[in-house]
């Protein structure tokens, strides 16, 4: 039986249709109205409205004191956000592409993520680091990476990855309200941008007003009994496409993790214990990342759950190539996902 859960969880009051980008901004707007200590800083977040629409309209409402363009000095302005958070503000800092983490990672993992621990809990760092991820539009090896495995490996920060407009709003609100540093990674392909290929679910119903989605809870986006597909980000939509396509043939359960840290291991285990078959779809690099961790989540508890080898559909440890046929070959697109599901379901 095929049941596709509504993307919208319980909110207060009505709903409206928004793109993912717009839903993300709506959460920021609401929090900025509620809490004067929230501000947003980064490159091209003011007049430009964020290269991927992450701040469109914010400057008009909140002005340049709270929506702040920075120099191309990621170490300085992310560090600035950390210092402001330490003094009780709630900054949102944008790293334009996750691919640029290499110029500022020290601030992120040695400072933002560790200060609370090193201080024995005496200092809090309530901030959000937003960043765009993902490929599929020929942006090459330095502008197409997901890298969430890298962030998730380093302890002390939460890592969320919304795939739908409602989650984009709810996770952003939760991230801002959280007393811990939260990395909020938005895949360009789910944002519903006018100038990039969109999936059909990039505009969807979003609860109006205050709305939060708990960080660390995966979501069963589609229930099924034959194969569990665990995924995140844009891949959620590719998997749904395939699942709908295979309906009647293979009954696919789709789990959108929504968060890597904390990782909802219970959700993974509950599904695999039911289906006995696991496919992990991850646009990040294959090795030493999310897909291995999902497999290990099962073997940590009970390998006999698995009736078949796990299939990991991920970037095969390849710098993202520019040329379209090459990029499509390494991305976890529908063709590879379908082949993996069929193979796992085959015995």
């Amino acid at each position: 039986m095929v049941v596709t859960e509504s993307t919208v969880e319980a909110g207060l009051g009505g709903t409206h249709r928004l793109t993912t980008a717009r839903a993300m901004v709506e959460a920021i707007e609401i929090e900025m109205r509620r809490d004067a200590s929230v501000f947003y800083l980064g490159e091209d977040v003011g007049a430009y409205g964020g290269i991927f629409g992450s701040t469109t309209g914010l400057l008009d409402e909140f002005g340049p004191e709270r929506v702040i363009d920075t120099p191309i000095s990621e170490t300085a302005f992310i560090g600035l956000a950390i210092g402001a958070a330490v003094e009780g503000m709630r900054p949102i800092a944008e790293l334009m592409f996750a691919d640029f983490m290499g110029v500022c990672l020290d601030q992120i993992y040695n400072h933002m993520a560790k200060i609370h621990y090193e201080s024995g809990g005496h200092v809090k760092v309530p901030m959000v680091l937003t960043t765009a991820v993902g490929g599929g539009y020929s942006d090459g090896a330095q502008h197409s990476q997901c890298l969430w495995g890298t962030f998730a490996h380093l302890p002390g920060m939460k890592v969320v990855v919304p795939s739908t407009p409602a989650d984009a709003k709810g996770l952003m609100a939760s991230a801002i309200q959280d007393d811990n540093p939260v990395i909020y990674m938005f895949h360009k392909g789910v944002m519903g941008l006018a100038w990039m290929a969109k999936n059909s679910r990039a505009i969807d119903l979003v609860p109006e007003g205050l709305y939060t989605v708990p960080i660390g809870k995966a979501k069963v986006i589609r229930q099924g009994s034959d194969v569990s597909v665990v995924t995140i980000g844009l891949s959620v939509h590719h998997v749904l496409d395939v699942a709908e396509n295979l309906a009647g043939n293979v009954d696919v359960e789709v789990i959108d993790l929504r968060s890597l840290v904390p990782l909802d291991r219970e959700a993974i285990l509950a599904s695999v214990s039911k289906t006995g078959r696991l496919v992990v779809v991850d646009e990040d690099y294959l090795s030493f990342g999310l897909s291995g961790e999902v497999s290990a989540t099962v073997t940590d508890v009970d390998p006999t759950m698995l009736k078949m080898p796990v299939k990991r559909v991920a970037n095969p440890d390849t710098p993202v190539p520019y040329s379209r046929p090459l990029e499509y070959a390494i991305l976890p697109r529908q063709d590879r996902i379908e082949a993996a599901i069929r193979e796992v379901a085959s015995a």
Partner: protein
Amino acid sequence: MTTTAPDRQQVGLDDEARLGLYATMVLARRFEEAILAEYHADKGPGFDIGKGLVPGEMHLAAGQEPVAAGVCAHLRSDDAITATHRPHHFAIAHGVDLGRMAAEIFGRETGLGHGRGGHMHLFDPETHFSCSGIVTEGYPAALGQAFAFVRHGTDRIAVAVTGDGGANQGAFHESLNLAACWKLPVVFVIEDNDWAISVPRSASTAVSSNATRARAYDMPGVRVEDNDVEAVYLAASEAVARARAGDGPSLIEVHTLRLWGHFEGDAQGYRPELAEVVGHDPIPSYETKLRSDGILDDSRRDKIYQQAGERIEQAIAFAKSSPLPDPSTARSYIFA
């Protein structure tokens, strides 16, 4: 220091050389106009960045040709350049093969990187040219190329390019200091086009001239205030000579002009001076100068345009007729 009136004779800027600068700028501009047309030809309906024969981000350097032409006129093909996300004018001025560059931009197997790199990742070992999509992170590699050139006992030099926005990145500071400490033959170039995407220079940079910053490394620094190819040529002539002589690095900032958007698709709503921009195009103004100096006339101009047009046509044709890479080879070249 502001340089506006170069002494042409002293630096070998004879008629031929001046026509050469002009021709380089024309070639770069015509190339980018061709890419511009190809890029937008098949992005519709609407504009989908991932569509078409040339997909992805496209950063064009129209208006900034004086920087590349003026600097590269002093270089040999065994000198190195590390350029930015906006690399074409430097690649062309340094003599990167047009066909293989175009093929790379079209993502073809015959491209400089067999289609793996794309327009922000052009690598040409023949001319020691490279570029990077990460702001200012191309600077450090130039140090290493310069280091190797010295160790190999040559007088080869390396040129490193960044933008006004990029001059506020940590790599800028570290690179200038290290190059100065080790007296490496590097010429650091800043293309100040007033903007880092939508952020004006005044909002990103605490100092009005980055030449001031050269002093923080005990290094000569010059800001060329006019977007004039001969002024750049003159400034570069000193810096290149100094590097070649083993006297260490220099910094050149050029106040140049971004004629078009940051990347294609950029509506530039943030840019108040947009209407005036076209009036400051450095190519017509140089043409006027050369004409009034009696060096350029219609026939010479036409010939330069025609030659450029032919080369570009050939390059684009080569690119378009080249095969796309075989998807089964996507994992080639990860390791040597």
